[in-house]
Structures are given as structure tokens and as C-alpha cells.
């Protein structure tokens, strides 16, 4: 049984001007202990997807369709009470900016042990020692001292360690990390990422890593889902995606990686910007930015095509001709 299987997930935002569909037909799955990357530009719907798994899409958004099977149980059918017992207990989340995720007026200890109190019958002594143990596991020095400190007394890296420790307290089987290193100093990004991966591996915890950086995902996850304008445009094993990306958007993302450009040259970029939710183009949402756009792309939403182990939503999928385009020659990574 898969650890998590998302099937045709749809999230809608009910705004004054009508309903906006933020996520459409999102499907992916994750095996126990597996690492999955969700990649895309800002506004692609990555974070919405992450919050949808925990049924925490902020109002006026709501899940309007699909299933989220977690260990065989459909999370969209659970009562609020049952859902609460999953959050932070079976599925934990790590947010982007550790400066913002910890409550400034509560001590580190309170914010960690409250998770245990919410999900376990545990006295404060035990909760404290559990928290101290976990702080040690994320390599925080003098945990007793940190336990009583407040977030503002810790550096960004240390705060993210605290957040990771909080996620590990309850032995969740899935951790969703939403750009866990983006807000940190470059010097400690790798350190925190390594720590997260190491601890997930050690405890056989499944990890969904959300990032805009395909470079990171290609190094740490086994599979990837590429999102654009609320849809999955390409999904498959990371190796295949990096070597043999079929969707022009994925190819663009790979091209945009700095290592794809020789030093001194301008970095590649995908022309144009992600459309806003209220203004998604007809047909394939990527068509205004696509270098390979055909007439069909402007009228019809592409269905998924399977090529090997990959799933691609592109009318040109499998069309080898386009790979001869000079700026798309890539995939040596």
C-alpha cells in the first residue's frame, strides 16, 4: 500500500468574482520512506497542494474534488476531529520561513511539547525529556537551555532545527517540507537539508519536498512532480525527468539551472510569467510561454501521455523533433 496517494485532487477558491480553480487533477503517490519533489514557479500551486493534504487550505479555498489516500484512508472524508489527530501526529509539516513559523511569545519547549500533549497521553516530565532527546537528534547544543528559550533568541538555522525536531517528535510517517531551506543563509542550507534527509531516512519517513529549485530535487528525491498553473505537467522518476524531460516547461526549468550555462554567459530563463488564477489561458496553460506552441495547444487542454515511467501533459509529448531546438539541448546533468 502506498503511503500517500493523491487522486485527481481539485482545490477551488470561492472569490467574489466567482470560483477559481487553484488545483486541477493533481495526482501523485508516495511509497513509505520515499522522497518526492514537487517543483514549479511561485504560483504554480505547490504550497496549496501541500496544505490540501492536511486539509488546511486557507479560506476561501476548499477541496472540491478528488481523494487523498493516506495509509489507505481518504483524508478528505475525515471529520475535523479525526483530521486533527492526523496533523502533526501522522503527517507533519515544515514551513518555509522559520522566523515566522515559531510563535514569538511561546518558548521553544512549550511549542514542542504541546504537540505531544495534543496527540499522546503524556505527562509534562516525559514530554520534556522527549523534546530534549529530539533536540539532540537535530544537533542542537545544550538542549536544556534552548528548551526554555524563545524563538527570537535562536538563529534562523537553529529555529529550523527546532521546527524539524517538532516534526519528528511524534514519529510521523510523512513529512511535508515547504521550501525548508529557502529562507536560510546559503551557508547552512545544505546542512539543514542533509539533516532533514538523514533523519527521514533513519526513521523511514516519507518526505514531500516542495521547492522551486529543480537542482535540489534532482539531488535528493527519487521522484518529482512538476506543476504549472495548478496542474501537474510532468511527473516521473527524477532521473528520467532530468535526463529526458518531455514537457517544454520542465525543460525550461532545467535550462534555467545555473549549471546549464557556461560561466560568463547569461543564465537561461523561461520567457513570460506564470498566469494568475483568474487569467489562465485557454488550452494548455503553458502555451503563451511555450517555445513549441502549436495550434492545438491554444484550444485543447492536453491529456496525460505516458512515456516510459513518466506522465506528461503536452500535445507535443514524444515528438522528437523539438529536441533539435538549440536552446533546449540539455540533459547532461
Amino acid at each position: 500500500m502506498s503511503l500517500l496517494e493523491v487522486r485527481n485532487l481539485e482545490v477551488t477558491f470561492a472569490s467574489r468574482g466567482g470560483k477559481l480553480i487553484a488545483l486541477r487533477d493533481i495526482s501523485f503517490s508516495l511509497e513509505p520512506g520515499e522522497r518526492l519533489g514537487i517543483v514549479g514557479e511561485s504560483g504554480a500551486g505547490k504550497s496549496v497542494a501541500a496544505f490540501a493534504i492536511l486539509n488546511l487550505v486557507s479560506r476561501p479555498g476548499y477541496i472540491s474534488g478528488g481523494e487523498i489516500l493516506f495509509e489507505g484512508q481518504d483524508l478528505t472524508q475525515l471529520s475535523p476531529q479525526e483530521m486533527r489527530s492526523i496533523r502533526g501526529n501522522r503527517i507533519s509539516m515544515i514551513f518555509q520561513d522559520p522566523m515566522m513559523t515559531l510563535n514569538p511569545v511561546l518558548s521553544v519547549g512549550v511549542q514542542m511539547t504541546e504537540v505531544l500533549h495534543a496527540h499522546r497521553e503524556i505527562n509534562s516530565e516525559e514530554a520534556r525529556s522527549r523534546a530534549l532527546q529530539t533536540l539532540t537528534r537535530v544537533h542542537i547544543s545544550s538542549p536544556e537551555k534552548r528548551f526554555d528559550q524563545y524563538p527570537h533568541e535562536l538563529s534562523g538555522g537553529m529555529r529550523q532545527r527546532v521546527v524539524i525536531a517538532t516534526a519528528l517528535l511524534t514519529e510521523s510517517s510523512l513529512i511535508i517540507a515547504d521550501e525548508p531551506t529557502t529562507a536560510l543563509d546559503v551557508t547552512i542550507q545544505a546542512e539543514i537539508m542533509d539533516l532533514l534527509l538523514e533523519l527521514c531516512e533513519l526513521n523511514n519517513v516519507g518526505l514531500i519536498l516542495i521547492t522551486h529549485d529543480l537542482g535540489v530535487i534532482s539531488q535528493v528525491t527519487q521522484r518529482a512532480v512538476v506543476m504549472y498553473a495548478g496542474r501537474v505537467v510532468e511527473a516521473g522518476p527524477i532521473r528520467d525527468i532530468v535526463r529526458d524531460a518531455q514537457h517544454p516547461y520542465t525543460q525550461g526549468l532545467i535550462d534555467a539551472l545555473p549549471q546549464q550555462t557556461s560561466p560568463g554567459k547569461r543564465l537561461n530563463q523561461i520567457q513570460g510569467v506564470m498566469p494568475s488564477l483568474s487569467n489562465i489561458p485557454k488550452g494548455c496553460p503553458f502555451n503563451p510561454r511555450c517555445p513549441l506552441v502549436m495550434d492545438e495547444c491554444r484550444t485543447r487542454v492536453p491529456a496525460y501521455t505516458r512515456i516510459g515511467s513518466m506522465r506528461i501533459a503536452c500535445h507535443a509529448a514524444g515528438n522528437t523533433q523539438r529536441r533539435s531546438r538549440p536552446h533546449l539541448e540539455l540533459s547532461k546533468a
Binding site: L54, L56, S58, R84, S85, I86, R87, G88, N89, S92, M93, F95, D97, M100, T101, L102, N103, P104, V105, L106, S107, E114, V115, A118, H119, S141, Q149, Y150, H152, E153, L154, S155, G156, G157, M158, V163, T166, I188
Partner: protein, 346 residues
């Protein structure tokens, strides 16, 4: 400067010596504030009219008046008069009320309990109502009853206190006859203070004046708490708290409320002054035997020592109240408390 004082405020919990540092720092500040207040208070008395007119009758001749003025030092230069005043004031002598022929400070302090009781009662009403209403209005922004309350709070802000007071007297005392319309009612002597809270009659007499006085602040605080709470509910740390699977109660009333209260405490400290100022109106309408009522009478009688004493006592209350507010702020906000030991590691 503000940062520096708050720095001290937070560290006071850590050690006794920093508590001492905080208090002594605060004391110096308070003395400066009081000095400024005393200058202002003392200098306006020149513009309030001739105290001799009140002291002696029409029949006294101009020559005698001049003699009296010289005797009382009223013809001396301002600085000398002020210095004389200050020397006595430091020793607790704020002059003798022309009208009561008693030390002005004593006259004021006799009326202090009544006014403080009024302010305290109003504060209790404000806290008791604004916190739950503000919080729930933020949590359920679309709930019809809370929307109605929010709408009414706008009206509440715009109605002047004296109108609220007179209307409530008309409705609850004159028409319905439920509540007394003036005075303090029966009071109890407690450690030299007269207390109205302890008798049924005293409590009944408190209801209308306290409600009228709180009516200026209540809508403001409901709206402030609601706005702050709504903002906090959108914050990342509240989202994170949801993602941790905490109960709604814990998220709303611990994670969110504690952060909501920080700016509210700050505003509250500043509003204490406004509340005291409005006691003058409230006390007058309800014939409440407090300092504000006394002050208005003193102004009518050009009883300058009493006016000056009132201003100084009110200034002192304001300074003390704000110090207490700072202490409470330091208790709630850890970033204030521990600013000394900043970020280590990584």
C-alpha cells in the same frame, strides 16, 4: 529611548538587580514627567483669574488687596513663585485650597477612591466585554450577531459620553427606575479608603457611571482586538499551530490571543489617560463625588491650589499606571524581556 526603557522592562524578570535597575530608571523618568506637569500646572494658574476675588469679598479696598498679594507672594516673578511651590510640593504640600481652607492634596486624596473606583469599574467592563467580543468577531467574521455588534460599535464610538450618560439615566433611572441616577450610595471604610464595591447599594450606584465611562473605550478596544486578532490568525505561526494538530481552543486562546494582546496592552496604557480625563464628564453628570467633579468645582471657584493639585495627582496616576502596563507588557512579550542575551549559535 523607548527601546532602551523596554529593554530594561524585560530584563527585570531575570534578576532582582535588573528589577531594581528598571524601577530606578522608571523613577527618574517619572520625576522628569512630573516636573514638566508641575510647570504646566503651575503656569496655567496665572491665567485662571484672580484668587483674591474668591478669598476676600467685594468690600476690600485695592490697597489692601495689593498688600495681601504681596503677603501671599503673588507679585513675585514666576520663577521664584514656582521654586517656592516646588520646594513645598516635594514635601507633599501642594498649597491650601482657598475654598476648603485645607491642604489641597488632602482634599484631592479624599476624593481619589471614588474616582479610582469608577476607572477600575470601567476597566473591568472594557476588558470583560472587548476581549471575548473582539476575539470571536475575528474568528467568525461573518456571524450576524457579531457583525451587528461591530456595526453598533461604530455608533458607540461616535456618541459622546455625556449623551450616553444622560440617556442611560433617562432610561434606567427615570423611566424604568431600576438604577440610582446619582452619587455613590452606601460605602464601606476599608484601610482608610471608602469602597463602594462591597455593598449592594454601592454596586448598583456604580453600574451606570461605569458603563457610561466605558462606552467611549469599549468600541475602540473591540475593534482593535478584532483587527489584531484577524491579522494574527493569518500569520504563519498560527498556520503552523494548525498543522501541528492542536485544538482550536489552544490555537485561538493561547497562540493567537497572546500575540493579539501585545499591541492592545500598549494602546491600553495610553488610553488610561483618556479614561481619567473623561471621569470629569462622567462624575459631573452622575454627581459622583470624585476628583473630576471636585476639579470642575475648583475651576469655577478659581481655587488654583486645588486645580494644580488635581493635575499633579492625575499626572502621577498616569505615570504609575503606565509603569504597571510596561511591566505587564514585559511579562507577555519575551522579546522585550530578554533582549540582552541575543542570538547565539549556527
Amino acid at each position: 529611548m523607548k527601546w532602551a526603557t523596554s529593554c530594561v522592562a524585560r530584563s527585570f524578570l531575570k534578576t532582582k538587580s535588573s528589577m531594581f535597575a528598571f524601577l530606578s530608571r522608571r523613577l527618574v523618568q517619572a520625576m522628569l514627567v512630573m516636573l514638566v506637569i508641575s510647570v504646566i500646572a503651575f503656569s496655567i494658574q496665572d491665567n485662571l483669574g484672580d484668587p483674591l476675588r474668591e478669598l476676600v469679598g467685594q468690600s476690600v479696598s485695592e490697597a489692601e488687596r495689593q498688600k495681601l498679594r504681596n503677603q501671599m507672594g503673588l507679585n513675585d516673578p514666576f520663577v521664584i513663585q514656582y521654586w517656592r511651590f516646588l520646594k513645598k510640593a516635594v514635601l507633599g504640600d501642594l498649597g491650601t485650597s482657598y475654598f476648603f481652607k485645607r491642604p489641597a492634596l488632602d482634599v484631592i486624596l479624599d476624593k481619589l477612591p471614588a474616582t479610582l473606583e469608577l476607572v477600575f469599574g470601567s476597566t473591568v467592563i472594557i476588558i470583560l466585554f472587548s476581549v471575548p467580543i473582539g476575539v470571536f468577531a475575528a474568528i467568525y467574521p461573518k456571524q450576524w450577531f457579531l457583525r451587528l455588534v461591530m456595526g453598533m460599535s461604530i455608533i458607540g464610538i461616535s456618541i459622546p459620553v455625556f449623551l450616553t450618560a444622560i440617556m442611560s439615566i433617562y432610561i434606567f433611572s427615570v423611566e424604568l427606575g431600576w438604577l440610582p441616577s446619582y452619587g455613590r450610595g452606601e460605602t464601606v471604610e476599608l484601610y482608610g479608603w471608602t469602597v463602594g464595591f462591597l455593598t449592594r447599594d454601592g454596586l448598583l450606584h456604580l453600574i451606570l457611571p461605569c458603563t457610561a465611562l466605558s462606552s467611549i473605550m469599549l468600541p475602540l478596544f473591540i475593534r482593535l482586538i478584532r483587527a489584531e486578532m484577524m491579522e494574527v490568525l493569518e500569520s504563519e505561526y498560527v498556520r503552523f499551530a494548525w498543522a501541528k494538530g492542536l485544538s482550536r481552543r489552544r490555537i485561538w486562546f493561547l497562540h493567537a490571543l497572546k500575540n493579539t494582546l501585545l499591541p492592545v496592552i500598549t494602546v491600553g496604557g495610553l488610553q488610561i489617560g483618556t479614561l481619567i480625563a473623561f471621569t470629569i464628564l462622567t462624575e459631573t453628570v452622575f454627581q459622583w463625588p470624585g476628583m473630576g467633579f471636585l476639579f470642575l468645582e475648583a475651576v469655577n471657584r478659581v481655587d488654583t491650589p486645588l486645580i494644580v493639585a488635581y493635575l499633579i495627582v492625575v499626572g502621577l496616576i498616569f505615570v504609575i499606571a503606565n509603569t504597571i502596563v510596561d511591566l505587564i507588557y514585559g511579562l507577555v512579550n519575551p522579546t522585550v524581556r530578554l533582549a540582552r542575551s541575543y542570538s547565539e549559535g549556527d
